[in-house]
Point group: C2
Chain length 196, copies 2
């Protein structure tokens, strides 16, 4: 394996181990020595890739954001009437099953609530903006009921999905497709003015 390829793999392994340790112990309690040991590399190798724990946390957030984008980009939003809401529903399901199985995505979301890292909240913010964007598209497609505006309904939908994500960090049952279905059944009729 070429030297550069090995470096890329080590970097990915460090991000994976860091996500595991952050998710289990929290960012503040996590130690770099523990992360390098879990990855099976020396402290020096870790420091070659990441000078500080903060840099490593940022890399976890960036990787989580990249994976989240693959979910949102997979959503079949093509401008056809109803496609934006359909895409939003599918992406929430995609996000929740990804959160259940992928610790990098889970840790990336959780790092947004970490006081020691300051005010970025990168992954949650990306998700929030995407949800807002989908509701604006749904509005342009003409599927929102009279009196329903994207600005008014977006916070409720963002809050619910963030709530499932946070509660799912402790108990994967919160991420089940059944619970997400039940949420949309409760909300979609009022969004569109139609029975589901």
């Amino acid at each position: 394996m070429a030297k550069q390829e090995r470096a890329v793999r080590t970097r990915q392994s460090l991000i994976q181990s860091a996500a595991e340790v952050f998710a289990r112990e929290g960012y503040a309690a996590a130690s770099l020595a523990h992360i390098s040991r879990l990855t099976g590399v020396s402290n020096g190798a870790l420091h070659f890739h990441f000078e500080t724990k903060r840099e490593l946390a940022r890399a976890v957030e960036e990787e989580a954001a990249r994976r989240l984008r693959t979910i949102t980009e997979d959503a079949p939003v093509d401008g056809a009437r109803g496609s934006a809401l359909q895409g939003l529903v599918e992406a929430t399901h995609g996000l929740m099953s990804r959160l259940a199985e992928d610790v990098v995505v889970r840790a990336g979301f959780e790092l947004g609530g970490e006081p020691a890292l300051g005010a970025t909240a990168g992954v949650r913010r990306y998700w929030q903006e995407w949800v807002e964007d989908m509701l604006e598209r749904a509005d342009r497609e003409g599927v929102l009921a009279d009196g329903v505006t994207p600005e008014r309904v977006a916070p409720a939908i963002v809050a619910a999905t963030v709530g499932f994500e946070v509660l799912g960090g402790r108990d994967r049952g919160w991420l089940s497709g059944q619970r997400i279905d039940a949420f949309w059944e409760l909300v979609l009729p009022q969004l569109t003015g139609e029975a589901v």
Copy 2:
């Protein structure tokens, strides 16, 4: 001031300072020395009341749970048709304004997501059970629409309120009455089968 009364006041001040430090820096990063300094007492005085940071965190959670109970007990739930849902709506508003102004309640909720503290999640759990209880009462009052069961809708409502709480920890705008109104406008018609 009698010695005992002073001890009670010091204990309350320590809980208040601890909540401020936990909310700002996170539990893991918070130092007992910082908390005693902020309270204006010696480390020895702090240790007289709380032997460990964990004990102090538990005291913050208990105080937050006590305050949350005053909100849920204020909800006018008397068994009359519609009173349980009305009480639930009022308590969510009460909780969000309390979260906006009271750092002990805010820190108490956030400590439930703290990995270092283990699996208790005391305050969020109390809130979840209360929401479930109100929806069961609403069902017994006969106000839930056909096909709506408390078990199916409770997770969505718990998730949304936890989401508002978590996002509100970073940005108080998430706790505004307007956003909570918008959430209930979206959800109540489907819950009850009636327009709001």
